[in-house]
């Protein structure tokens, strides 16, 4: 069972080459001195310098970051509430519609979500800008948060909550002191997912933003439509680097937490 045949090794190797070589090329050529992106002309970091002195990119990055932080935070609160209602809410009027509205945005094509929100915003006369992008991003990412959190809530031992309630905690205290710490990892990964989705979104932001707010993906889009540019390679390298660091830190942290939990468990077993 645990021996890989040569076919397995080959398919894994080719698969990972396919997944990683394009990004690797992007990273390598961001350090290319030449403006021609397919000809190597020596090592240089000048595109990073140009990128950092390009004010339009910095402004767009700041807009994107603000939108992502605000929308993912609201989405985490709303998504956690929605997950709680779905898993613990019991029956209520319109429950089917509610769960439908949670799952539908996950598979909805972005062009449709973007178009429908834009038409709504125009219909009610809301000026398009940072606020409308935040509303749009919150709406679709709260559904992702809700799916992540509810998968944790389903496996959660309900008697812990009941014990807190029996011992006199108010429902809010039981949630805050018992439930929340236990589902915290899922809530945090929900926030991270919402944050990444917001950072990454081009289509919905293009529909819902106005002239006053351009996000980084929109800025990247308008320059990559004209072809490959070394500045965008530099920007991509920075973004890929940030994600790689983030994922490695997160996996080390969860490993650390797992080790600690195991140690606590062993200590508890010894004490008993």
């Amino acid at each position: 069972m645990n021996r890989l045949s040569s076919f397995n090794v080959v398919s894994l190797t080719l698969g990972f080459v396919f997944l990683y070589v394009p990004m690797l090329i992007l990273v390598i050529y961001s350090f290319n001195a030449s403006k021609l992106v397919t000809v190597w002309a020596g090592f240089s970091t000048k595109w990073y310098g140009e990128l950092l002195s390009n004010e339009a990119f910095l402004v767009a990055a700041w807009v994107t970051l603000r939108v992502a932080v605000i929308s993912s935070s609201i989405a985490t609160v709303l998504g956690t509430m929605a997950a709680y209602v779905l898993v613990r809410g019991g029956r209520f009027f319109g429950r089917t519609l509610f769960s439908g509205m949670i799952y539908a945005p996950l598979v909805m094509p972005e062009v449709i979500t973007g178009l429908s929100l834009l038409l709504l915003f125009i219909g009610i006369g809301l000026d398009r800008g940072v606020l409308t992008i935040v509303l749009a991003h919150t709406t679709f990412s709260m559904c992702f948060v809700s799916v992540v959190v509810s998968s944790r809530l389903v496996t959660f031992d309900r008697s812990l909550e009941e014990a807190a309630l029996d011992l006199g905690a108010s429902p809010w205290d039981a949630f805050r002191l018992v439930t929340l710490p236990i589902i915290a990892p899922a809530v945090i990964s929900g926030w991270l997912l919402a944050f990444t989705l917001s950072l990454d979104d081009l289509v919905i932001a293009s529909f819902t933003s106005g002239p006053s707010a351009t996000t980084l993906p929109m800025k990247i889009w308008s320059s990559v439509r004209l072809g490959v540019s070394p500045e965008i390679n530099a920007l991509s390298t920075i973004l890929i680097g940030l994600v790689a660091v983030g994922v490695i830190v997160a996996s080390l942290a969860s490993k650390h937490a797992a080790v600690r939990a195991k140690r606590d468990e062993q200590a508890a077993a010894r004490a008993a």
């Binding site: 394009p22 709303l78 929605a82 799952y103 972005e110 709504l120 749009a136 709406t139």
Partner: protein, 291 residues
Amino acid sequence: MRRAVLIAVPYVWLLALFLIPFAVVFKISLSDIALAIPPYMPTAKDGIWNMLSQLDFENFIFLTEDDLYWKAYVSSLQIALISTLFALLVGYPMAYAMARAPEQWRPTLLMLVILPFWTSFLIRVYAWVGILSGEGFLNQFLLWIGVVDSPLTILNTNTAVYIGIVYTYLPFMILPIYSALDRLDGSLIEAAEDLGCSRIKAFWLVTIPLSRNGIIAGCFLVFIPALGEFVIPSLLGGSGTLMIGKVLFEEFFSNRDWPVASAVAVILLLILIIPIVLFQRNEQKQVEAEG
């Protein structure tokens, strides 16, 4: 009381920003284009009854008459289907190898599959522009090893779109298949082999049927988003690449024909309902099978 608030807040949010917008799209799809702001008529300003009486299915009739749209839907389905098939062909062997890899490697392999998903989608598609172009890396490589004499035209064709879709959605194919194969009881395959099945026959008769749910889930997870894809055909496809997401985007932003764009969206949604329902049924079955 508290419970009511807990239910009401996310409920009202989704009603206002998910369901009502669809009603708006549907209403505008029944309207006519107008030289006004907003560029359609009638609007609620004309009075509700007056507005309702002027709505009609004209735009939908227009869509069936102009074969651009008809072709765009068919070609989106075709591109999504072919890409899904290729993603399965690439993804299944990878998922299979991951499930057979030594236990201590699996978390790392899983992380390597998930990592690209966290990286910007736009950047991953953009990476292929430099690889597939006429003087790009793929052509340089092929010329260097002498497989071709002159550069191949890949960028701005449907082939580039297939590559782009397979590349960006591959993790969605691998993960459900991997989780199905991971749960598969290895002794069943051993039993088949002991009973005289060849390796390959055991694979076809035991492994594939037992990973069927994973295959179905993976295929839908690639097919559904690929159908409405906009970024990949716009960046990698050519002028001949017709995909409905691109048509909708251009109809809206270039032609500014909002009623027709809305009608295109309504039909896309109707087409998508079928695979989405099938997908949910598959998931439901899987949950029941486990429970």
